[in-house]
Symmetry: C2
Subunit: 283 residues, 2 copies
């Protein structure tokens, strides 16, 4: 592999580019973006070696798509049309069913590998890219059997070399599980932020009284709406289901407080403390 | 001030003891706890200089109460009975109305200062105590006018010396605001943890798919039920109100998704991104 094309050079695309270039200085990272200013920024930050356009993909050994998932669904068939037989296209989207679906009958389906590197921060854009973001993180790969073996092998080596653990899953299971451990967290944080902002018009009061606990719980409410709106749209059914369960649990907890059943409140929290053991190992 | 008595030598009491001793090596930190094993642990960790019992408080210059708020309400009148006229009692509870109420007519009310140092982690017990926990954090002081001036002055110097900013508030406002920026975050995190645990019986799946975003949002679900149950009980009315607003916001967000109104979903998140500016400065 020599010519890598990053479509999307923000937090995920930019960080992948940084790590891959570090491990493989001989590779050339070409950046593609809708916005010229974003490419200029990525170039200035040394995330990419060169600016490129969509047509250049015909020279690609590997294309990494890290853009909002609605844009991925629209663009992916075209990218696959352009990729040479020896090239591979991967995506990094937080939903997998719609993305796999849109290329299921594409004549070059075997040149595509669907993945979801589970890593990130609440920041976005080229300036959010950081080296080492993927170290020790999980990369979920979907429908691996549909990708040419030689191409998947090369790509997975690239991603394990930057520190990722590979895990295989079908797109339907991926979207169901990720709704719980990622999409719900984002909505939970966004609505927490909204509730507090609405109530506490005097921001000075929030600032003075909010501690690190609030900051941590609400952190994801800084995330990009451009990125997250299409994720909720594509994973609508699962997200609504998780939200219903979450709202039910909150309502039940509220009723227990109203009923002065503080023994039950204690037990709810004690049982949930078990999350400690589950989280051990997540940095 | 020479003899400091810490009733409760866990995360908050232990951390306060560490910082105060560091700044004032001539002071003697006496530890008091219901459990002998806790005191032994605090001694072994050098959080306290000596073990003590409740009766010894008659020799105290300062008593710092950092125990669950239900225990504080029960114990505080007795501690005030015991404190010499020249001594001061402070508490560090996360609720202020019930605590101020229980001593409002106490003959030694002027020897008590109600505070809430807004600092902490999700851990508890003596081993959770850390140096520097209060640096740059806010210490909310309630009903300052009810405390002897000379005593408040000495105590507040102690707390500003360890890096805290003092902010004055009445107990009713404190409990109302803190419900939003602290108590709600805890319930939000506990119920997020519960929802995910219930759904994902196979813990391996959670572990593999959960990223740092989930870890951050759910972090407070590791908190101590012993500490938090009485907080929710004492702040019941405010907590129920915040929960109702939070549940309403979540329900509305869910309905927008169900109605495919993703323009509104985008705007909800965009508006809440404003939390960035509010959080700047909270570490």
């Amino acid at each position: 592999m020599k010519n890598i094309y990053a479509i999307g050079v923000g937090l995920i695309g930019g960080s992948l580019a940084l790590d891959i270039k570090k491990n493989n200085p001989e590779m050339i990272i070409h950046g593609i973006s809708r916005k010229e200013a974003t490419l200029d920024e990525a170039l200035a930050l040394n995330l990419i070696d060169e600016k490129a356009a969509l047509d250049d993909i015909k020279h690609a050994d590997l294309v990494i798509i890290s853009i909002p998932v609605d844009a991925t669904v629209k663009l992916l068939p075209t990218v696959l049309d352009l990729i040479p037989d020896t090239g591979l296209v991967v995506d990094a989207g937080s939903t997998k069913e719609a993305i796999c679906k849109v290329v299921e009958n594409h004549p070059k389906r075997r040149n595509f590998l669907a993945m979801h590197p589970i890593a990130g921060t609440e920041h976005s854009g080229p300036s959010a890219a950081i080296q080492g973001l993927f170290k020790g993180k999980t990369n979920i790969v979907c429908e691996v059997e549909k990708t040419t073996f030689k191409l998947q092998e090369k790509a997975l080596k690239l991603f394990t070399d930057i520190g990722m653990r590979i895990r295989y899953m079908n797109p339907v299971d991926h979207d169901k599980h990720i709704a719980y451990v990622s999409h719900l967290s984002h909505i939970s944080a966004f609505m927490l932020g909204k509730t507090v902002i609405e109530k506490e018009k005097n921001e000075r009061d929030i600032f003075d009284m909010a501690g690190s606990g609030f900051a941590s719980t609400v952190r994801l409410a800084k995330s990009s709406p451009e990125m997250w709106t299409p994720i909720f749209e594509q994973n609508k059914i699962n997200v609504v289901e998780t939200l219903e369960e979450y709202i039910n649990n909150l309502t039940q907890f509220k009723e227990l407080i109203k009923d002065d059943n503080f023994e039950a409140i204690f037990n709810e929290m004690k049982n949930t403390n078990h999350i400690k053991d589950i989280l051990n190992g997540i940095s």
